[in-house]
Amino acid sequence: MDDKQLERYSRHILLPEIDLAGQEKLLDSQVLLIGLGGLGSPAALYLASSGIGRIIVNDHDSVDLGNLQRQVIHTTLDLSRPKTESARDHLHAINPGLDIDVIGHRLTATELAHYASQVDVVIDASDNFITRYAINHACVATRTPLVWGAATRFDGQATTFRNDYEEAPCLNCLYPNQHAQDAMGSCGDNGVFAPVTGIIGGIMAAETLKLLLGVGITLHGRLLRIDATALEWRQSLFTRDPLCESCSPPRQAPPSRADAK
């Protein structure tokens, strides 16, 4: 780290749990962030400010006016630009030293697995269950930890799927019925309270940082839910479904991440 970096990350380096070695680790880390909307905006901003060395951002949408009620990574000047470009510009503005790679199309299953195998953590900030199951599948197959969140109206939820563990539950263990989940509707249908997406994105960034630093206890097997009207948080535990279509039978040995870097 040079002097400017030491200054930039001084508040991290002061923490014994991070220190110089931890910050170096973050700078050497790579994450894939899918979705640059309500959840992805704050997650991306905090991952960039924290100094994650390489962030691959993926979204196939462009910025529209209805996004700006909560998607704070974009601005009014970015209207109709691809969200990936708008996000990259903002992330570089707050931390010019990072590698921000953009993918502006919907990833195929093969591409998802390819990118998941390259990174240390995948962050699912998408807004529909078809995408969520596809991401889950790729992360189970490549044994990549997956940080997950969702928000609608005043409710939000987040968890972490430790696909790097032997017996970790996956998204399909938690929410096995795709059709039922799609019937829940999205924030496009039901609306969403602007800062609820923000807080869930923030929790997702915190989970990602813990995974990358190897500190603390992640939300493995725990679903954290917020009801913003009461501002109450509830935690529910969940375990692996031995008959899960996605993560059973037992997973294979993890591929070597060192090769991908």
Binding site: E7, R8, Y9, S10, R11, H12, I13, L14, L15, E17, I18, P42, L45, Y46, S49, S50, G51, L65, G66, L68, Q69, R70, V72, T75, T76, L77, A93, I94, P96, R153, F154, C187, G188, D189, G191, F193, A194, P195, V196, G198, I199, G202, I203, A205, A206, E207, L209, K210, V215, G216, I217, T218, L219, R222, L224, A228, T229, L231, E232, W233
Partner: protein, 389 residues
């Protein structure tokens, strides 16, 4: 005879019609007057006190406005035709007594019945805030209220950054920021309002650039000053909600005392390393007994017991999470929605990933906020901390 005329004749038989005179009397006795015209028609005038719900979303949203199926509905359009179709649909939905106002709004207006030009969102605002308008708890009335609201953020740093971003995104009309500092590179690890190119710029200026880019429709007021006992009331008195994002004890006492005196809700948060806490100090909250900061800490500690003011480490996203929680609480207070964190302190430890809640009690003998207390005046709020050595 055209199909539409045949259909209208059937509806006239099925739906009772009332005159504007009768409708006004019925609405005074508890009936709901429902204006089903389009937004641009309503903008020209609508009966005072009417529910306004265009035919497009009528069936989907009427229950949010009028949950009681037994309540009489008086449906009004421009001339008394569209209201017949709407009335029939409402009857099918289960409303038992639905009537159409004959002659519609034009007859209502001609007969001198009371109407108003409602304040409504323009087309651009309607699109920008569409995700709020979809929520019955916010809706157009709530969004207009937010646009009329004023929130003061004290500190444009770690907590103030996300709080300001989300208040601006949500459409809080006036956002004040108090900060004396300039942007430093060491801020950028967590203070997402600021950018590398703005290092050295006053934080309130940098914040204004970021917030106006996100939402040019709001007003951002920068107060580039230190709060002290001579300016605190003048600055705070112009705002509806105060968000305390300071990093030092002296200012927290000052903000508390001024908020108690002025009766302002004070959304308070603090972060340290991997944890943080948030509560709402609001002794004059009308739904329950709120406490103030001095109920918990009656006096600033003497310097030898005060925490060090030396810079402490903090995980970058911690002030992010707590600034966001402050934004949630500020907006809830503005909209009088849900239960604010009055009398409760929420704590989050990022390392364990757990939120816990503590009850906070009002001190019945608090010198500042107990019943009948006479404001003791501002103290000398010298920087309360141990030396940095």
């Amino acid at each position: 005879m055209k199909a539409k005329d045949r259909r209208l004749a059937e509806l006239r038989d099925a739906i009772p019609e009332v005159s504007p005179e009768e409708a006004l009397a019925l609405s005074h006795n508890g009936a709901a007057l429902l204006d089903v015209r389009d937004t641009d028609e309503v903008a020209q005038g609508s009966p005072v006190g009417a529910y306004r719900l265009g035919r497009g979303f009528l069936e989907l949203r009427i229950e949010d406005m009028v949950p009681d199926l037994d309540r009489t509905l008086l449906v009004m359009c421009a001339g008394g035709v569209r209201s017949l179709f709407a009335a029939e649909s409402l009857k099918r939905l289960g409303y038992k007594d639905v009537r159409s106002v004959g002659g519609g709004f034009s007859r209502w207006k001609n007969q001198g019945k009371p109407f108003e030009i409602p304040r409504i969102l323009d087309a651009e605002a309607r699109e920008r805030y569409s995700r709020h308008l979809l929520m019955p708890d916010v809706g157009e009335a709530g969004q207009l209220k937010l646009l009329d609201s004023k929130v003061l953020l004290i500190g444009a740093g770690g907590l103030g950054s996300p709080a300001a971003y989300y208040l601006a995104a949500a459409g809080v009309g006036t956002i004040g920021l108090v900060d004396h500092d300039v942007v430093d590179r060491s801020n950028l690890q967590r203070q997402i309002l600021h950018t590398d190119a703005r290092v050295g710029m006053p934080k309130v200026e940098s914040a204004r650039v970021a917030l106006e880019a996100l939402n040019p429709g709001i007003e951002v007021i920068g107060h580039r000053t230190h709060l002290d006992s001579t300016n605190v009331e003048e600055i705070l008195s112009g705002y509806d909600v105060i968000v305390d994002g300071t990093d030092n004890l002296a200012t927290r006492f000052l903000i508390n005392d001024a908020c108690v005196k002025l009766g302002k809700p004070n959304v308070h948060a603090a972060v340290y390393r991997f944890e943080g806490q948030i509560t709402v100090f609001w002794p004059t909250y009308d739904k329950q007994h709120g406490n103030c900061y001095r109920c918990m800490f009656p006096e600033p500690p003497p310097p030898e017991f005060a925490p060090s003011c030396a810079e402490a480490g903090v995980l970058g996203v911690m002030p992010g999470i707590f600034g966001l929680l402050q934004a949630i609480e500020a907006i809830k207070i503005l909209l009088d929605l849900g239960d604010p964190l009055v009398g409760r302190m929420l704590h989050y430890d990022a390392l364990s990933g757990r939120f816990t809640e503590l009850k906070v009690k009002k001190n019945p003998h608090c010198r500042y906020c107990s019943e009948g207390a006479v404001f003791p005046g501002y103290q000398d709020y010298a920087q309360v901390c141990a030396s940095n050595a």
